[in-house]
Subunit: 359 residues, 2 copies
């Protein structure tokens, strides 16, 4: 049609469909200079020592925060004082607040709810500047235990359809930026990206009578070429239609719908810590986003009917996405992702575990 | 549940559902300092004069590009020489290439296509450093005419399910960064974000027997509080569930499925130019993304059945999103958008048309 020039000798890129979301990624086939991709990390404001002493997430600063919601602490220490290992707080600037009714209503043709929900912070260590890979296995398992506890508690509230656990490493600025913490956000509706996953997983099950995630696990353990790491209970993979360079998912090998049902905290801590360690070592300590994908809250009444097959359809997992570049306008508008590092290459690089930028 | 503190006197934010995509936005109700939001524009590398002289999109540099696909040019001038007003080229680094078959195939449980498609650039003016609001109405109408022509031509190719026209102002770097141009990308599958819109519009029609976009137009013309501008044929609004500050949509007042069916080029040029002028003046010349949302390619065989009601369900429009901030990890993971400027306020500010940052 268009009389553009043929591109002689250029490998043809692949369009790959993610069986989980139904989204497509364009996986580029030409070699890119990976050192350019990972060279961009800037020194952060929070590296400055004066910002360290002002961090309210540090041990000794407990009085500066709202009262703690939950903590793992040493015997004999009291709430809102030092002696804790993991500490859960209400987020300082929540966009959703905990008290009130949803007041689901129309405004002309439109639908509105009041911004009711919960937004908590899980401070993962009392020590400033310590990242998750620096912690012992027991400490990482403690953090996972706390996420589980908070999920179980928040799911007792039938107003909340979904509870999203996520971490954003390197994104924050200000005094708390270098303090390791995660977010828990409970929302009164199921987020669109989550809904996409749930609906696709349901459709897949209806068609094949198999869980799509179980099929992914089987396929990846068979192929091995996109496996990053595995242990007895979990596998870490670079997903087939990875939306960005070095995207990594951790999935339980056996079917399990809810993150909070997982009792294998130590093996999960082990694989999570090792994946994050390798991302840090190999990719020059990049910013990353980590999102726990768990099943929605079955107590939220309106979902009960629709998701009645959820427990066989859906399979929890963790998605880790290094933030190595921004999105182009085409990606934002279309939902297509363009990825210049094929997942087969990404997993090979993470398996090899050698820094891409040598000092 | 969680014993967070109540936030006394703080207005409750609103969760608003976008009837078009089914997505939800959290519209913050507290006042924010808008000057902080718009102060961030940096001087661009391409402002430097040495980059100007190297721009291949400038008149006089035609030999440096691939042969032109289409051009509006003065009588008597020949292809690939000066004398043009709008010029269409194959994009220099396309991620999808024009020649070949899709080779739709499975890889184990996964689906793969070859990266076949088209990626063209529409150079909107021969003059470097001239932005769309600087052009005359006739020139802007010419640009819209060219987008229409390319859509009609590319839709002749049954391999392409969707053709996305988009512009990204301020995002490019290098010699061409300050040269006004847009992209046309033809893809062999319907992008996920487009599909969401099409499916929601279809569901709405099935339920109400009315086009959701026609309902939006009626509601907004009635309310007036989110209208930015209007003329006889078009209306520009800040959408009810705006995903970001100052997001603006331009819709035809009468039902029309395809952008390329629009014959009112002059009134569209008028409202588009005025919206972009106001965004530039009021918001300190921000980066923005503009995406034309038109119906998919009905010639792409596999869609014919599914979209057989498309012409009554769907209504083309243009979405303009100023890029005033990045997305947080919560927004990326959930699909929720958090918007600190309610659309009622945004449209008031754009109607008033006074710079937010006074010199």
């Amino acid at each position: 049609v268009a009389n553009g020039e043929a591109i002689e000798g250029m490998p043809i890129n692949q369009l790959r469909r993610d069986p989980i979301t139904g989204g497509w990624s364009i996986i580029l086939q030409q070699q890119v200079d990976l050192s350019v991709l990972i060279a961009g990390r800037k020194a952060r404001e929070s590296d400055r020592p004066e910002n360290h002493t002002a961090c309210e997430y540090c041990s000794g600063h407990e009085a500066e925060t709202s009262p703690e919601i939950y903590a793992i602490r040493r015997d004999g220490t009291s709430a809102n004082s030092p002696g804790w290992e993991v500490r859960v707080l209400p987020y300082r600037s929540p966009v959703l607040q905990i008290y009130g009714d949803l007041n689901n209503r129309g405004m002309g043709m439109y639908d509105v709810l009041d911004g009711i929900g919960a937004h908590e912070v899980v401070v993962e260590t009392p020590d400033h500047g310590v990242a998750l890979p620096d912690l012992s296995l027991d400490r990482v398992a403690d953090i996972l235990f706390v996420y589980r506890e908070r999920l179980l508690d928040l799911k007792g509230d039938a107003r909340f359809r979904y509870i999203m656990v996520h971490k954003s490493y390197g994104e924050d600025s200000g005094p708390t930026a270098l303090h390791a913490y995660g977010h828990i956000v409970a929302t009164p509706i199921t987020p669109l990206r989550v809904k996409e996953e749930l609906i696709n997983a349901k459709d897949y099950y209806q068609y094949k009578e198999r869980c799509v995630f179980c099929d992914v696990v089987r396929q990846e353990l068979g192929d091995q070429e996109r496996v990053v790491l595995e242990n007895e209970h979990f596998v870490a993979i670079a997903p087939f239609a990875s939306r960005g360079p070095f995207e990594t998912w951790i999935l339980p090998k056996n079917h399990e719908t809810f993150f909070e049902a997982n009792t294998e905290l130590k093996p999960l801590a082990e694989i999570l810590r090792e994946v994050l360690t390798r991302i840090r070592n190999v990719l020059n300590d990049p910013h990353y986003v980590l999102v726990v994908h768990s099943g929605p809250n079955l107590r939220a009444g309106q979902l009960r009917g629709y998701w009645k097959t959820l427990e066989r359809d859906y399979h929890w997992h963790i998605e880790i996405t290094p933030r190595l570049r921004g999105y182009t306008s085409f990606e934002v508008g279309s939902g297509f992702r363009i990825n210049m590092v094929p997942p087969e290459q990404a997993s090979r690089i993470l398996r090899r575990n050698r820094p891409l930028l040598e000092a």
